[in-house]
């Protein structure tokens, strides 16, 4: 009982620190990566006792500035909702991570402990549900600000998020059909199987179109470029106009956390989760943990080494995907709003539906 509780708290702590650290590092990476892309230097002025830590101190300075900035509420704004909106924007993001496995199940003593906070049969639905709740943050922010431009901005952002929520849902159906389960844990295990014995059965291999649809749709959901129309300051005032200081910061911390979580979802569903190709643990290979290559080679590894490698591989994939999202954000030009809607409803949606149909057909024919 106590052990269970301790394990759960421990897992939550690990996941929470993971996301927070990720989000914090991202505020730094955003500045440094964009600088590198455009041959600049980026943040490098803030220093503590002359130590700049490659600009990391700038993030600390940013945080301090936000905390001490005036917390502004427009006259006649709705105080409670205005205060709650950033929470609504941030909280679901953290909740989403609960169903994602960040490592293989490990055995402590005689019990099997999955490295996943919540083992849920309907995990993917859970992810989608919390993804949709994030819309409330944006909408409430616009509504509670008592500013018509913010309200319109919020509505616009909501319309965008809902449109792309749809694509996310549809594009995830393909993988769900392939793995035959809604549980990310099961999906992770399933990705250690091999097509014809040598191609890893990762989501990106068996469902490439779903991946190509999910990535942009999910990026639109995080409201970042090229889909950052909620902040389209050249056309309309965004939903967060009436936010300042740490409340504003929470919106954007939430955005960064969303990048981390999105990378985790992508890794879980499409990039083999914590799996490393041809790496098996003892349970899967009758006690012979290690690399089993299709041409027969076998590199024996300790059981714990396998676990460590797998957790590391998950972290690595998440990092790479975070990098990719940043790179996309600093490469692509922003959409126009009508283009944004057209891409979602008239281009991605038919492809997503087609993908589902074809996938279902193939599965039917193969089995």
């Amino acid at each position: 009982m106590w052990l269970d509780l301790g394990l759960i708290v421990g897992k939550i702590a690990v996941a929470f620190t993971g996301i927070i650290t990720g989000a914090f590092v991202l505020t730094w990476a955003e500045r440094k990566q964009s600088a590198l892309i455009s041959d600049r230097i980026g943040a490098n002025r803030a220093a503590i006792l002359g130590i700049k830590l490659l600009g990391l101190i700038n993030s600390v300075a940013d945080a301090m500035k936000m905390v001490f900035k005036e917390d502004f509420l427009p006259p006649k704004g709705l105080r409670f909702l205005h205060a709650m909106a950033p929470v609504f924007a941030m909280f679901p993001v953290f909740m989403t991570f609960a169903v994602l496995p960040f490592g293989p199940p490990i055995s402590i003593g005689d019990r099997i402990v999955p490295l996943q906070i919540l083992q849920l049969d309907i995990g993917v639905l859970y992810i989608l549900a919390f993804g949709s709740i994030a819309v409330y943050g944006v909408m409430l922010a616009g509504w509670a600000s008592n500013n018509k431009y913010s309200l319109i901005g919020g509505m616009r952002a909501t319309a965008q998020m809902i449109s792309y929520e749809l694509i996310i849902g549809l594009s995830l159906i393909g993988p769900i059909l392939v793995y035959g389960s809604l549980d990310p844990g099961v999906m992770a295990t399933a990705q250690n199987e091999y097509l014809w014995g040598w191609i890893p059965k990762w989501g990106i291999i068996v469902q490439p179109i779903a991946f190509l649809l999910f990535l942009p749709a999910a990026m639109a959901e995080t409201k970042r470029a090229p889909f950052d129309l909620p902040e389209g300051e050249s056309e309309i005032i965004g939903f967060a106009t009436e936010y300042s200081g740490m409340r504003w910061g929470m919106f954007f911390l939430g955005e960064f956390a969303e990048i981390v979580v999105l990378a985790a979802v992508l890794a879980t569903v499409f990039l083999g989760s914590y799996q490393v190709p041809f790496l098996f643990d003892g349970g899967e290979m009758a006690g012979l943990a290690g690399f089993h290559f299709p041409w027969g080679a076998y590199v024996p590894l300790g059981e714990w080494v396998v676990v460590a490698l797998r957790v590391f591989s998950f972290g690595f994939k998440v990092l790479v995907l975070m990098w990719l999202q940043m790179q996309i954000r600093w490469t692509f030009p922003r959409f126009r709003y009508d283009q944004l809607m057209r891409v979602s409803w008239r281009e991605m949606m038919p492809i997503a539906l087609l993908n589902i149909g074809v996938t279902a057909l193939i599965i039917r024919l193969v089995s």
Binding site: A35, L36, D39, I41, Q327, I328, F332
Partner: protein
């Protein structure tokens, strides 16, 4: 007849219209920059002599070479005896498109010169640094310094520069310091209230 030159729009091929491949090509470009620059930064910090990975000029420490044609802040030239070379002919005031030069002429104590500027003030906030005043001056009395680009201040009043400042580049002299020379004529000095009213 008006001639029309039709501008041909670049037709996108089907490949380009599908958007995705071109996007990834763009990603290749930015990624190349990213990794090349990352390599250079790492190389530099390890002590290798790599090409600099940046175009940034670290401003307060490094300065960008300024073109000799740069038009910076104005300067009033002096005669060898230290009096202004300006003869208060008002040519610059007339030529100025922004009407930001204010000259009050007075009779010169020097017998060979008719007039001299009792007050010579420029509102640098209105000035567009076109250099027409310099062009207009028959005496080569007003010039624009090159190499001077830190035109920054904490108050608007400090951009309203007077004769002493223009002659010696010193900080603003107070009005009373040369009020005696004005003989009761009003100087054009605009105080902050006037500035706020939009002059």
């Amino acid at each position: 007849m008006i001639e029309v030159k039709p501008v041909r729009r670049v037709e996108l091929s089907l490949w380009q219209k599908t958007y995705y491949p071109e996007l990834w090509k763009g990603m290749l470009v930015t990624s190349r920059h990213f990794f090349v620059n990352l390599g250079r930064h790492v190389g530099r910090s390890l002590g290798f002599k790599t090409k600099p990975a940046r175009v940034t000029i670290m401003y307060p420490e490094e300065r960008r070479p300024i073109s000799p044609r740069w038009r910076g802040r104005h300067r009033l030239m002096l005669r060898p005896d230290g009096s202004p070379r300006c003869v208060a002919c008002m040519m610059c005031e007339t030529a100025c498109p922004d009407l930001c030069i204010y000259i009050t002429a007075g009779e010169s104590p020097d017998g060979r010169v008719e007039k001299y500027p009792v007050a010579f003030e420029i509102d640098l906030l209105r000035c567009c640094f076109c250099g027409l005043c310099v062009e207009a001056c028959p005496e080569d009395a007003i010039r624009m310094d090159t190499g001077y680009l830190e035109l920054a201040s904490y108050s608007r009043a400090e951009f309203y520069v007077d004769r002493e400042f223009l002659m010696h580049g010193s900080i603003l002299t107070t009005h009373s310091q040369y009020a005696g020379e004005l003989d009761g004529r009003p100087a054009h000095r605009i105080d902050l209230v006037k500035l706020a009213r939009g002059h």
